[in-house]
């Protein structure tokens, strides 16, 4: 799972509407994979990303320290960092925990399992 995907996620448990995002990543095994650098794509991402959540997640995983607010979209170094965080950093194993309800979502072989039990739907 790339961090761009993690940024789109929220806890799907019924009635869980407070602190349901971002999901806390625990016991993560991180993998880096090269991805094509596309400045246009990254610039467009800036208003699609929940920035605070990305800063927090990137910091907690020890990936990179991003600025508190999005940097200059024409600054190449900033875009390179953003590229690395969003697209090249992948969580291979671990779990995501909801800060609101405590639900645990395992990640195995790079694939998060976001299914709920019948009684949680």
């Amino acid at each position: 799972m790339r961090l761009i995907t993690h940024n789109m996620l929220q806890c799907p448990v019924k009635g869980c509407s407070k602190d349901n995002f971002p999901l806390r990543i625990e016991d993560a095994e991180i993998e880096n994979a090269d991805a094509d650098f596309n400045p246009q794509f990254l610039k467009r991402m800036l208003d699609r990303i929940a920035w605070g959540a990305l800063v927090q997640t990137s910091f907690s995983l020890g990936v990179a320290k991003l600025p508190e607010s999005p940097g200059d979209p024409n600054d190449d170094e900033f875009l390179q960092t953003l590229h690395h965080v969003l697209l090249e950093t992948r969580v291979k194993e671990g779990r995501m925990v909801c800060n609101g309800c405590g639900h645990v979502y395992p990640i195995r072989e790079g694939i998060p399992n976001m299914l709920l039990q019948e009684n949680e739907v």
């Binding site: 995907t5 699609r48 929940a50 790079g110 694939i111 998060p112 976001m114 299914l115 739907v121």
Partner: protein
């Protein structure tokens, strides 16, 4: 069919079936449908989309200038999509784990027809609309009751068989099957050896998809069409 609840019916006759046939199903799915290809190529560069029920991920790489988050209810199909280098997670269309208003576009290709009641089909559509950004577009494809191909159906809720060739694909041994799974397997010796799975489908009548998209609400329909035995609708989320 009536004795089972919709959830049980889908569990046995949709989810367990895709789990079991995943590698074979994937080998038969590679050619993108033209309408889907056109939809993907009409999205502005750098858009982000969700392909819910993405199967083996056949649409995830059509337009390299987009980012598409794939998801499927089947672990085995998600694994195949992931092995092909795509982003995929396991979730249920009825309860999507995505934030509201977050995707520029949403794909639902041949998925909603696997939901066993109209209530669930509308719920699934509501979830797709919820994650779409205002102004974002959604493309939904479902199987049509009005078939131009070789198949004929006399009712809308049907089982369609999938023949899994035993010699080429390992089918899950009984002991590996979850307890809830009761897929009926019969062996057909006439041609080669197959394991036969019954997949549940709700076939859509002309206009039905438009009607339930309107029931789900929040979008305006922009285009409706028929292509290769399927109905499709492109709709756009309202700004309200």
């Amino acid at each position: 069919m009536d004795s089972l609840s919709s959830a049980e019916l889908e569990s046995t006759h949709v989810h367990s079936v895709y789990e079991a046939i995943a590698p074979h199903f994937s080998d038969t799915r590679y050619k993108p449908w033209p309408v889907v290809e056109r939809f993907l190529n009409s999205q502005p560069d750098g858009s982000i989309g969700a392909d819910v029920g993405c199967g083996n991920g056949k649409y995830l790489g059509v337009n390299k200038k987009l980012f598409i988050a794939g998801s499927d209810r089947s672990f085995n199909l998600s694994k195949i999509a992931h092995e092909r280098g795509f982003e995929c997670l396991v979730c249920d269309n009825l309860k999507l784990p995505y934030r509201d208003d977050s995707f520029d576009f949403v794909l639902s290709i041949a998925v909603i027809h696997h939901m066993a009641s109209e209530e669930r089909r509308v719920l699934a559509l509501k979830e797709l609309v919820r994650i779409l950004k205002p102004g974002g577009r959604m493309l939904v494809f479902v199987w049509a009751m009005e078939q131009h191909g070789r198949r004929r159906f006399d009712q809308q809720d049907v089982f369609v068989t999938w023949n899994l060739p035993k010699d080429r694909y390992r089918h899950p041994p009984e002991k590996d099957k979850p307890e809830s799974e009761t897929v009926q397997t019969t062996t057909n010796n006439t041609r080669s050896c197959h394991v036969v799975y019954d997949r549940f489908y709700h076939l859509f009548l002309q206009g039905e998809l438009d009607r339930i998209i309107e029931l789900a609400g929040g979008v305006d329909i922009e285009e409706t069409g028929y292509d290769r035995d399927n109905w499709f609708v492109i709709s756009k989320k309202r700004y309200t």
